[in-house]
């Protein structure tokens, strides 16, 4: 269905701009959880704990902290704006692909047998049969 496809493209475009551009203007202060866990400790300019006692004291490294996109940046790209923006763009596309893919596979197949056998995989699946078969079956 054409209008649904336009809506999807428009929505994705908004998400890409937010994650790719606007993300560079986000606040870099600790978030609500992090700041709550840091209450009671003191920190130096590099954000290392210098004293006190707080839940954040026991924080350990992430299992995948050396990954190519760890910390919302692309390893090897020095420009911080480009690094953050590109990681955001990759993240949006990856989340859409993973989420959309899982939901597409898990979706309720229409009772129309022809549609169920045409088990779609790959890229054509997410774009092609959005409207026609579903609409037909609904009638």
């Amino acid at each position: 269905m054409r209008r649904s496809r336009m809506f999807l493209l428009g929505g994705l475009l908004v998400a890409l701009v937010l994650a790719g551009v606007v993300s560079n203007f986000a606040s870099s202060h600790p978030d609500g959880l992090d700041s709550s866990l840091r209450a009671g400790c003191t920190f130096d300019a590099d954000d290392n704990i210098t004293g006190g006692s707080c839940p954040a004291l026991r924080e350990q490294a992430h299992e995948l902290e050396t990954g190519p996109l760890a910390g919302y940046g692309v390893r090897g790209i020095d420009n911080p704006y480009l690094s953050t923006g590109l990681s955001g763009v990759i993240g949006v596309l990856l989340t859409f692909a993973v989420g959309g893919g899982v939901f597409w596979l898990a979706r309720r197949r229409t009772r129309n047998g022809a549609d169920a056998t045409a088990a779609p995989t790959g890229t054509t699946a997410t774009t092609d049969p959005t409207g026609a078969t579903a609409t037909a079956a609904r009638d």
């Binding site: 606040s27 709550s36 955001g88 609409t135």
Partner: protein, 239 residues
């Protein structure tokens, strides 16, 4: 420099408690898949993928609260519940958290069950309860939907923050004592009340925009008596 982290990091909660919540999250998500399949048709599936991608994007946009010393970001449970329903909505938030943990190093992999429980399960459930309640009493106008999105977001975010307190009570790695836990609960609730206001504004803006463009794509408006402002949230519209 400390890298940006928005979710529970490794070491904050003991391993055994994290494992229990991982099992709980897995069971809850399985239920969401089973119930969500009833909602997931050819039209909702790509829409749900878009909701997940949109939540990922907006979670990157930390906004300042407390005059800038602390930041907050969208959790997305209420937004997802309104747009694609509670079951698929919880799965959307879970997908975001899994991608963030496995690819972006945000939220420990061992802590994934805790984060999913708080934001995907508790956050979406609390948000949807409010949505189901408010859409019954409020007028079906853009204002009614905006108020619904706003209130559902505030409640959802505060509820999610208290999920963490439950987890910290069960298995916090640093012993803060009963009074310390109470203080932590108060701090978390206060900060997340403000974050909830920010989330509420984002959610209200987003759902009203979608409802104006494509009311048939807003799950929470389905099956309700059509109002002049948002016509045709019925199946007949698709043609």
């Amino acid at each position: 420099m400390k890298t940006l982290a928005m979710h529970i990091s490794n070491g904050i909660i003991d391993g055994p408690v994290a494992a229990v919540f991982a099992a709980f999250a897995l069971a809850a998500l399985t239920l969401c898949v089973l119930r969500g399949r009833r909602d997931l048709d050819d039209r909702l599936a790509p829409m749900a993928g878009l909701v997940a991608a949109f939540i990922f994007a907006v979670q990157m946009l930390n906004f300042p609260i407390f005059m800038g010393a602390v930041s907050g970001h969208l959790l997305g449970g209420a937004l997802a519940a309104i747009l694609v329903g509670p079951w698929v909505g919880a799965l959307c938030v879970a997908v975001v958290l899994i991608v963030q943990s496995l690819v972006f190093g945000d939220g420990g992999v061992a802590m994934l069950g805790l984060n999913i429980t708080n934001m995907a399960i508790i956050g979406t459930a609390a948000g949807y309860l409010l949505v189901a309640l408010l859409l019954r009493v409020l007028p079906r106008t853009p204002t009614g939907l905006a108020v619904t999105g706003f209130v559902a977001s505030v409640v959802s975010v505060v509820a999610a923050s208290q999920g963490f307190i439950l987890q910290y009570w069960l298995g916090g790695a640093t012993d803060v004592g009963t009074s310390g836990l109470g203080a932590l609960a108060g701090t978390m609730a206060g900060v997340h009340l403000l974050i909830g206001v920010g989330e509420g504004l984002i959610t209200a803006t987003t759902v009203v925009t979608v409802a104006k463009v494509r009311p048939d794509l807003v799950y929470a408006l389905r099956g309700l008596r059509p109002a002049p402002a948002f016509p045709v949230p019925t199946t007949a519209e698709a043609h």
